[in-house]
Each structure stands twice: as structure tokens, then as C-alpha cells.
Symmetry: C2
Subunit: 215 residues, 2 copies
DNA sequence: ATTTATTTTTAGACAAAACTAAAAATAAAA
DNA sequence: TTTTATTTTTAGTTTTGTCTAAAAATAAAT
């Protein structure tokens, strides 16, 4: 599998989670910053390799083989992110790009040894689950902070949006995975929340609350 | 710089150490397992990018820019090898191939953080020196075991040949970097050595002694 | 149920990095 | 110093992954 093929498989995997009936050409092109015609070409190749099932104009889905490949790529990406943050001291907004490269390193032995070295983590620095060596993904129970009842306490377990801007905002507000969040009040008009995070009172917009997972 | 370009630069660097006046096309082709014509094509490209100085039929040398790039690739390769052995528990005969991939990961910040994480090692698992962030290579004093006086003690600091076969032989004989080697006797006829390694008496062919560095 | 708009696919072209086969330059040998 | 052998380069293809522009299929709107 080439790097390009792996990138397509990965993108189809992520899009499948939202549209499991079939991923359309334009969506893939958008994610990969390429043209629809290039996607069509690649779908033929991936179909020949039995990684996707594809019929003209009908969108694509991953085959079992494709799904497994996708999970292994995601596994590598997320394990490398853990390594970068936990061992090398990168911050969580810096690791995605580097992991995009590292995820294409081939050795299976490498990734399993890395997994062990990191202590078999179940989630990456953004709270996303890490598939195990067999591709099994342990589901992480979580709710959006925007959908949680008032006056209860949770801890922060992940982010939905992992853009640099959002992560830097969280850093600025000293919100990290593991932080204790208590919802004090919710404004009816615009759903702005008043919360207490690690003891500190804070006002949070609905957009923020809608991108923060708690448990 | 593409992966292919980096591989050419690296090979030219290694060949330059042996033939500093200019590296010939066929030698490069041999190392990269490609054809001379492909090498010629690439030399033009690298020359346009001011990474090598190249004139038809006269061989190539690295420019300052090319030399620096080469050292950075070697730096990455060797630091990743240290990581694989020291942190992930690979044996020294398993790491070359994986490091061949890892050496092409782009981030400079990554490699400097990795360097710090590993404690700024000066040599890789085979005893080869690791260029620092500026490209400076600390020369490691060493002699071949085959060229050393009798009845003196040394410690093993590196291998000249790092092929799997040789490394596995060393493992079998329990010879590792750091082992204490004392030359007891040398056979005049075929230069076979009788040595004591970490206290154990051993007979070693000239070929072996000729690929083991001591200090 | 047509027409219009959007999406997707085809067809043909291009750049990168490789190849083969033939030509040219250099080196070695007679 | 010619001749022969070797090395290197050129010229022309191939493959991979991309592109543009045009055609075809599907979806949306009148």
C-alpha cells in the first residue's frame, strides 16, 4: 500500500463514521484537497485491490480488508500522538501533522512495541480511542458538555474539534483532559454555560461546550 | 526534498567518505539498486537544486547545502536507531530497515526533542557517530581489533560491517558494545586471534577482528 | 415531467522517478 | 596510438498520482 492509498483509506474510514451507507467522491476530494476525478481514479485502484467496494455514482464503502487497514493506520496515528505528547513533550495542538507522516511507517512490530512502551493507552491526546493490535476499538463513554445536566460534575475526556485554534483556547483556559468540570448554570437565550473547571469559575459559549466531551 | 532525493543525497554522502574527490554514477546506482541512467537524471535535478556539484562524466560531490542535508538525514537515522534499541527493545540487527523509513520524517523539532529524550547520544547502536543539531560529528577514537597490539585490553565501541549476519554472530558470542576485549595471542599464519571477551576465552577469525572496532 | 443544477466519470495530458536500448565519452589494453 | 572495454549519458517509454475539460449520470427544481 502506498502512502497515497493509505491516505484515501483513512479518509474513507473517517467519513464512513458519519455516512456509513457510502461515502461520496466530492467529500473524499474535499478532505484530501484533491479533485473528484483523482478520487474516481483511486477508487478503481482500491477496488481492484479489494480495499473498497465501489460502483459508479453510488459512493464507496470499505471492505473488511479496507476497514482493517484503516484501523491500523488510525492506530499508528494515535499511538504516535501519544508518544509525541507523553514522551517528547509536544503539546496536543502540535502533534497531528507529525503523526500524519509517522502513521505511514510500515513495521507492525514497531507499532506493537511502541504500544507496549506507551503502556497500551486507550486514547490519544485528544481523547480519541486507539484501536488495539486486532483492530478492536474500546468505546469511550462520553457526552458533549453542551448536552449535560446542570449541577453535576464530570471530567473532561476528549475534544470533538481538534483544530489548533480550539486546542489553544483550551490551553489558555487551563482546560485539559482530566480536568473536573461542573456546570453551574445555563443561559436560556444562547446556551452559554457558567462552569467551574478545576475549581475556577468560567463562562463558556455553546460552540465551546459543543466541542468538549465529558464523562 | 522528496524521499528519493534524500536517499540519493545520503548515499552520495556515504560514498564521499571513501572517495572524496567525486562519487561515480555506477557506485550510486549500485547502492540504491537502480540503473546508472536513473542516477544521471537525478544528478541533474540535485544539481539544479544546488545539493550536488555535478559535471558530466566527472562524478559528483555534495555542496555545502547537500552535505548539511546529508548529515541531518544521518542524524535522524541514527537517533531513531537509538530509540528503537534503547526504548523499544529492538536488537541491533533489526533497526536499520525501520530507521530507513523514519529518517524521512520531516519535523526538525521532532528530531531535536527525540535527541533530548534519548539523552543526546553520541553514537548509534552500531557505534557510528550521531551528528548534532548543527551537523557537527564528534569523532570517536577507535581501532580495528585486527590492528591492535597483543596483551592489551580494550572495549568494544563499534562495528564496521553492520550486516545482520555479523551482528547475529556477535550476539551468539555475547559480544556487545561495551564488552571488554583482551587480545591474548595472534596466529601468524592466518591472523586468527585468541581473545578474552568479558572474561571468556574465544578464537576469532581475522575477518571478524577486521570488522570490530575497539578503543 | 421536463428542465436545470450538481455530482461523478471519462478522456487526454503532465510531472516524478524509474526503466531499456542506443550513443557518446572516458579509461584500459594491445 | 589505435583498438577494445567500460562507464556514463541521451532518447524514448512506463507507472503512479495528479490535473483540466468535456461528457454522462444523478438529484433538485420548476
Amino acid at each position: 500500500m502506498t502512502i497515497s492509498e493509505e491516505n484515501y483509506i483513512k479518509v474513507i474510514y473517517h467519513l464512513s463514521l458519519v455516512s456509513p451507507k457510502g461515502v461520496n467522491t466530492n467529500a473524499i476530494a474535499g478532505m484530501l484537497d484533491t479533485k473528484a476525478s483523482s478520487v474516481t481514479d483511486m477508487m478503481k485502484k482500491l477496488s481492484d485491490k479489494d480495499l473498497v467496494s465501489y460502483q459508479k455514482y453510488q459512493g464507496v464503502t470499505l471492505t473488511d480488508k479496507g476497514l482493517h487497514s484503516a484501523k491500523m493506520i488510525v492506530r499508528k496515528h494515535r499511538l504516535w500522538e501519544v508518544f509525541l505528547v507523553d514522551k517528547l513533550g509536544f503539546s496536543w495542538d502540535e502533534v497531528h501533522e507529525i503523526a500524519e507522516e509517522l502513521e505511514h511507517i510500515k513495521s507492525e512490530q514497531l507499532i506493537n512495541k511502541l504500544d507496549a512502551f506507551l503502556g497500551f493507552p486507550v486514547a490519544d491526546p485528544h481523547g480519541d480511542p486507539i484501536p488495539d493490535a486486532k483492530g478492536v476499538i474500546k468505546k469511550i463513554e462520553k457526552q458533549l458538555l453542551s448536552e449535560v445536566e446542570i449541577n453535576a460534575s464530570f471530567h473532561c475526556v476528549g475534544v470533538k474539534d481538534s483544530s489548533t485554534d480550539f486546542l489553544k483556547y483550551l490551553d489558555k483556559q487551563k482546560i485539559a483532559l482530566g480536568s473536573i468540570v461542573k456546570v453551574i448554570d445555563k443561559e436560556d437565550f444562547d446556551d452559554t454555560l457558567t462552569v467551574e473547571i478545576d475549581g475556577k469559575r468560567l463562562t463558556i459559549s455553546n460552540k465551546i461546550a459543543n466541542n468538549l466531551y465529558v464523562q
